[in-house]
Amino acid sequence: MSFDRENFFELLELSVEPPENDPKVIEEAIKKKQAQWSRFRNHPTKGIQAKKFIGLLPEIRRVMLDPELRKEEVKDALSQQSAKAEEKFVSVDRHLAIQMSKGYITDEEVAKLAQLHGLPEKDIRDRIARKEAEKFAEIDKQIGVRLAKGYVTEEEIAKIARAHGVEVEAVRRRVTGPVTKEGEAAIPVGKGLETTIARAIEDNLSILGLSSLYEFLEVEANASLKLLHKKAHLKQSEISKISKKDAAVTASTILVGHCIAIFKSEESRASYDISRAKSQLKDLNADIDIAGMDGKLRTEYVTTLVQSAAKYGMDEEEALAYIRRYAADKGWTLEGEEKKARKLVGGRDPRKVLIAAGAALVLILAAVLSFSFYRHARSLERAYNAAVESSAAQKTLEGQLKVLSDYVKSTKPNKHTAKAEEAIAGLSSRIEKRDFDAAQKSAGAAAAANRFEEAVAAFESFLAKHPSGSLTGRAKKMIDTYRASTDERDYRALAAMGMKDVDSRMAAYVGYLKKYRKGAHREEVKKLIWDTAEEFYLSLKKQIDAYAEKEQWDKAIALCDTYVALFDNPRSVELGKLSENYKTYQKEALYYDRLVKDAAAKGDDLDAAEQVYRDFLQAYPGTSVQKKVEARLAEIAARKESRKQAGTADKVRAEMARGGRFSAGRSGTVTDRRTGLTWTTLDSAMEGRSCMDYDTARKYAAELRTGGYSDWRLPTPAELKAIYKAQPAFPSWNTDMFYWSSKSYRAFTDQWVNVVEVVTPVGSASGETRESTRCGLVHAVRP
């Protein structure tokens, strides 16, 4: 996997091998980088890059703190470190280059190349197209190189055309600068851009991964000034529309500014083209800089430089001219020229000398390539014999093979090569045969023990070692055979599972299907699965219900989804719906949790907490958590109640503590100094009992053992009135409740009923009665 961005391990400077996996270390590294980038945010030249990295931070966190994504990132880092994917095509390219050097390539040749490399013809054609594109890119580059001096001559154009086997006109069309004839009066040579500007453009282009302003504006390098101008303004309004001002947009904004400024006139545009050409020669210039460190260029350096100039498509003459101009700009002298300059009086052009030097070098190189065969014929024979001897002396076949291959690799092809290659082929096939036999032996043993996987592995490792030998086909066949045996064995095991529980059977069936994507028994196993569908459903449903009961929605959902993934029948529809419901419940459970947290956050403010729940019920009626919410509400109500009670009890105690009318008696009792009666401190409601009818009230009083007394009774109406109505009265919070008295009678309203005299702490002072079936409180008294 490869990403279109910096690798995060590299960006954070974390170890890739072994990969850094400690989240703490990673978080530390991120923090460190964040601080560093923030500091660079307004750096004069690195600001935009820092902004880009800052913008990447959320992504960095997301990827680097997730184990799975991080693994991908490691892979990417490794693959970036060893980018060798293109290697395969190297030899194809070389052959293509040879075929195409004549300027064209025939269909027949394409077909032959395809056959030779075992590739489809299309791949070869794609390659050719790429070569063509590269050729024109190369032509552009060479034009650029020559344009660096400010203009291009007709001769140079012709030369480039010749070198690439294209029409002169095709080259001329691609020239963006002035064209002149050699020797013509020097036209005003354009100067490049200010280096500061050129650098700013280059830096911002590199942020976008582009190489030129033309590419930035998406036009050809030879587009008209008018088009460029228009494109620049279009780009400007396009970019200003983007709201996310990330580094890329910022870089684009800056580049648009440059485009507008540069593509205003032909003159400034030519300056840009020249700067661009110059920057292509950056490496060469750096080389020249090194060579000229002491203020002059030695002859031997010049020859080396001429060689490196060849990489840019310059011939010796051009290279020399370029180097000389460069040196002159820097105020350096060329050593060779200095001396020869004196001889110039004799009419010799110093340039010729240098050209001669360059040419001689080229000649020597050519000689090395083409004549070595003859020169070393004898020594070749000796080398071959030595290789054969040394090979024979090796103990292992591999050793022998290596010696011979090394020989072939290290020597140029000669008449002995074929012999050596023949020997190599012989050795290879012996090795292959030996390995095959070994594989067969160990596979046979494994298969006998029913361990077919090992047998397959034996041949697979054979194949890994000999991917395209003469025995490959047989090995593959063996693998197929053993795979089939494994399939058969596993299927039998499945069929024999009849008695096992349905879950493990289903797991085994599914496992089989997964393992044998082309298994021989897939249809049978599928049928087994279908046959087991209902049984599996019943088993699952039971478990699902159990989880649902416990509100473990995620587990329930997982089980539903398991079934749905396997089947498409009414049951799967049913479970699918169930799963949906559970997902809703799960979400609602989450809401509920949050609700409880919100309510808890209200702390002691029970009214606010209650409001939180009420708001929820109003906003989401009929959810699965309704009951729970209602329970919470009831709980809050109870807490409010008990808080009220606690308040009253406090009041009672405060009253007693004041030492007025009421004084504390034995624990839980209070004595009324005015009447001498002993009362329970808390009435039945404050004790936590709900209200009760008259019969229950009497029983409650009789069974009270508060303070160790057993003679509690219901008070008379007069006694009740005496504590609740005569000031200072006994504190009470039950403003809407009444207390049962001991006095009752029967009365007729529409039927005969028991009527009891009662006292309500607030309200009228006399004559209150209630039917005995009503619900009232008890405040017991003794004796």
Partner: protein, 553 residues
Amino acid sequence: MTKQMKRIFGIDLGTTYSSIAYVDDFGKAVVVPNAENQNVTPSVVFFDGPNIVVGDVAKESAKLYPNDVVSFVKRSMGEPDFLFEHDGKSYRAEEISSFVLRKVAQDAEAHLGEKVTDVVITCPAYFGINEREATKIAGEIAGFNVRQIINEPTAAAIAYGSTESSDDKVVLVYDLGGGTFDITMIHIQPDAIEVICTGGDHNLGGKDWDDRIVANLVEEFHAQTGSKEDILEDPDTCQDLQLSAERSKKILSQREKTPISITHGGERVKVELSREKFEAITNDLMERTIALTHDMLSEAKKKGYTRFDEFILVGGSTRMPMVVNRIKEDFGIEPKMFAPEEAVAKGAAIYGWKLSINDSLIERLQRKIGKKVQKMEDLAKVDARHVEEAAREVAAETGYTLPAVKSSMVKVRDVASKSFGVLATNAQNEEVVVNCILRNTAVPVEVTQEFYTAVENQKTVLIRIMESETSDENVPPDHSREIGTAVLHLPPGLPEDTPVIISFTLNKEGRLHLTAVESSEQRKVEVVIETLSVIQGEELREAKARAQNLVVH
């Protein structure tokens, strides 16, 4: 100053320099000098051990302690991942800005002998929701009651409108500051100051001109010494060059050339920078301001404004001769330089003064007519006699002239600097941003638009609120920025295509509110946009607590 009027200060919180102003007893806006007796204070913060130093001293310290000094934080306002680390503590742009605010306010307090409590702070018109919120929070961390955030060009126009004759005219305010560029068209009328259109780039300012000089100095150093070292890697050199660059830029506004010396690693290189060269290496930056100006003008044309009367230059960077020259060349009008460094703070102060006079006017009027007057806009409905009378009373009581008091009734109308909309799916089933409030519409504004549910029985609608730069009604999602979300819960059983009505309200301060109503049962959700890129919650509380214990020097 009378008792019942609260003094509201205006603060120009700039990228490179900040300043504070107030309206004196004669109704005139005055910039208050800082402790160093300068009208502007560098927006630079120096963490000197436990002390926090702001201003010139901090800026000069940058050379010696480059790692303890932070500047240009305004460019990172609203950037969630910008963190300045010092001594194990991280500071957000808001908090660092609050130190600058405290410094200018503190110095003003010392100078005037009066507490600064209420402030109006300015920000570039081009700031979006997040950046504005961040600016307000910076003020709150500094402990102020931030009465309003107003746009810098609007402030400049207020200052300009209050000094010039109050004819009806259309002006362009070209505001090139230390870090931001704003271009705004403003219609100044006798009774109103109205922003027509605004544009700009909040990453384009004097600093970019400085940076070019820095880059050029590096090239020169390389050329003269033959070294290829990136001398900016050295924080001392980097800071030193930045300071020299700013200084040379200022000199080049007066002279044709300036000598600069570069010292690095024991080597000393002398460079002469000419104005011509300076202009050559910054030409593209200048071009960008011109291109943005043209963009804004064509926007204004759509609103029927096809001419302007004056071209006003605000912001220190407009002192560069190339600005005046280039504008003359392109627009054929002689631009007017108007108190480049002070106009914004003064305008903010005048605006604050209007707010407080308005407060007392409204209070009086309420007493007179016996009913509530919410804002100045409501004055139109009140009997003119009452207004006149109230103004007379306020004038008598405060000592300001009657025209001055009346001028406080001038209305200030601004426009939205961004478009706001929601992410929706169009008929082709592609995601698209539907803009409800278009850029450059007058604020406050409320816009209501109908959307439809996508499927039958849809339970929720996720409303994703997007900000974008164009005034187009439909914008592709990757051209806009998500600034908040809201969830609307729908009752069950709604058919497909049930209308959902979304209303956007953008108030005067550029704050966005959103209401969504599902039409069948009138269910609604109301949200204040949570600005994600701004310091908030626990972090904000911590910053505020920290601010109370800090002394700024």
